[in-house]
Amino acid sequence: MATHEIFMPALSSTMTEGKIVEWLKKPGDRVERGESVLVVESDKADMDVESFNPGFLATVLMPAGGTAPVGETIGLIVDTQEEIGTVQASAPAAPAAAPAPAAPASAAPAPVAASAPTPVAPPAPAAAPPAPAPAAAPAVAAAAPAANGRVVASPRARKLASQLGVQLDTLRGSGPHGRIQAEDVLSASGQPVSVPRVAEGTAAAVSGAPAAPLNGHGAAPAASAGKAFGRPGESVSFNTLQGAVNRNMLASLEVPCFHVGYTITTTKLDAFYKQVKSKGVTMTALLAKAVAVTLARHPQVNAATSADGGAMVFPASVNVAVAVAMEDGGLITPVLADADKTDIYSLARTWADLVARARSKQLKPEEYSTGTFTLSNLGMFGVDRFDAILPPGTGAILAVAASRPAVVAGKDGSIRVANQMQVNLTCDHRTIYGADAAAFLKDLALLIETNPESLTL
């Protein structure tokens, strides 16, 4: 009598998770050794997953259509028909088992800024993303080490345990049949468990920052260590997304770019943000809206050079893309389409939805590839200035740094303290000239400094 786990297979070294397209067997079905049990899809490739053991499919832990990280248990096979009932009784039903955002292998949430020049995360602590419930709670805690002394643990849990020096046999597993999951190891080692798969500002940046954030977009990251995709001495291949970003970044070397900076006083914006954040408005939405409204009046800055370099292309709409760093590497630019014409509340909701689906890698291409202008924000890390690399097919990208109190001298010699942030516009000079960039920034600053309330109209 035994229970055999079916794992999400690694179909590629660059695969971090796979989608279950179809279960070819249903719980209770007899399975022969080597028989296909389910189909997993990653990218444009399907693979049949076979059972290594003859028996019966006792339970499905992740239903068709679901996505699971590589190595995660997605089904259980038992030797005899009698065991099916036992397993089904003790294993959580499929939807409940859908593991909370599986904790990435990296131990602690950390700022993503370090590596690439554009990785960016939007601001707005207000949008505090649904912090995943602490490690699937001990609700399903089952008998600790199996009676026979064998420790049942997921492959990632084993890897983490060896990295973190946690003794597996001292843990109570929260998985099916007391199986020890990565989250259990993280909890045991005192590591935070609820790490979002996308470093979208917030949780990582805000939680536990002891010093009060300077304002809506100035919290310091709480994490202690920088992120790394490999360990010392290793050489780690880029994943698909990182490779894609690399190609895009290299393409920008063909573009004659220049940068124009501006310091914007945000005292009014910050005060206004405090008023509206209870209504679900986020700083990302406010900034995107401000940029979009200004772009609508500066179509030259919304334009791009055509692929063959022969023309200036003026898009029919203002689509503001906002760069989001992915927890497992690379970044993606979900798009707020028609941001100038969409009300701020819808923008905030749409953004939350886009980020949630970016996390689960469910975005459709048109949702991340149709930006006409890109916003890149490192403000939540306290960065005082940076410049961004121009994404191909667009004419400009705005790098937004932290808003911080500054001593400001007035023309009349007066001195006051105001919140200020630096923004830095990267432009393709073929289409956007210095005067265009300057006029756009001046209007953007005017809007943010004097009339942020208009953003909700």
Partner: protein, 226 residues
């Protein structure tokens, strides 16, 4: 990569109905599953007009009633969304033991793209990949669609390269689920180009990239109807 690997090459003399081509792939896949050390195989053909859907594909990308398609519609065991096959499009179905080629499905997809890029290069055309998507684009239009399926690392399905085909059939679907970019063909960049000219380039590029020596079937290796 040495060229010590043999792959049996099947080139169709005339268009092959989709189901017949699929059956041939499954026969070859079953042979390799039974004998994983045996020779790999390659099918090169054109299909009469038809539409195929990957196993997880969404009907939402069909612009017609699936019960009444403008050409035969098949849901098949590959990854990816809907695509269209027709005369003038070269279809390459490699039946490989992918464990001999790195055991990495993403890498396999990239290698197939590279084969198409090599073919375009030989024609003096510069194709490109699209980050985050699978396929090959030329001047912004998708000219090659790729979708594969595997069982125990034995592959089937593969790539479709639009050479001189009528593109109107693509209008009935959202090819590969990508709505915002058009589908193209090589003929529009190299007037007079035909599948007969491109076929040997495709085989040559494949042979080089995958390090396999293509040879005709021998004895029992032949397929009925080929």
């Amino acid at each position: 990569m040495g060229s010590s690997l043999d792959a049996i090459l099947f080139v169709a003399a005339k268009p092959v109905p989709f189901l017949q081509g699929w059956e041939a792939q499954r026969t070859l896949q079953a042979r390799l599953l039974a004998n994983p050390g045996g020779p790999e195989a390659l099918l090169l053909l054109e299909h009469p007009p038809c539409y195929t859907l990957g196993r997880g594909a969404s009907d939402a990308f069909l612009r017609f009633d699936p019960a009444d398609p403008p050409a035969p519609l098949f849901r098949i065991d590959r990854g990816g969304e809907v695509t269209h096959h027709t005369i003038g499009q070269l279809v390459l179905y490699p039946v490989l033991n992918l464990q001999r080629h790195g055991g990495d499905l993403h890498r396999y997809l990239r290698q197939l793209e590279q084969v198409v890029l090599d073919v375009l290069d030989r024609l003096g055309l510069q194709g490109e990949r699209s980050p985050g998507q699978t396929g090959v684009w030329l001047a912004g239009a998708k000219v090659a669609a790729i979708g594969v399926g595997a069982r125990r690392w034995i592959s089937q399905h593969g790539l479709a390269l639009n050479v001189s085909c009528d593109l109107s059939g693509f209008a009935a679907v959202v090819p590969c689920g990508i709505a915002d970019r058009p589908v193209g063909r090589l003929l529009d960049h190299r007037p007079g180009l035909s599948t007969a000219v491109v076929a040997p380039l495709l085989l040559e590029a494949f042979s080089e990239r995958f390090g396999v020596r293509l040879r005709p079937p021998q004895g029992a290796e032949s397929l009925q109807g080929w």
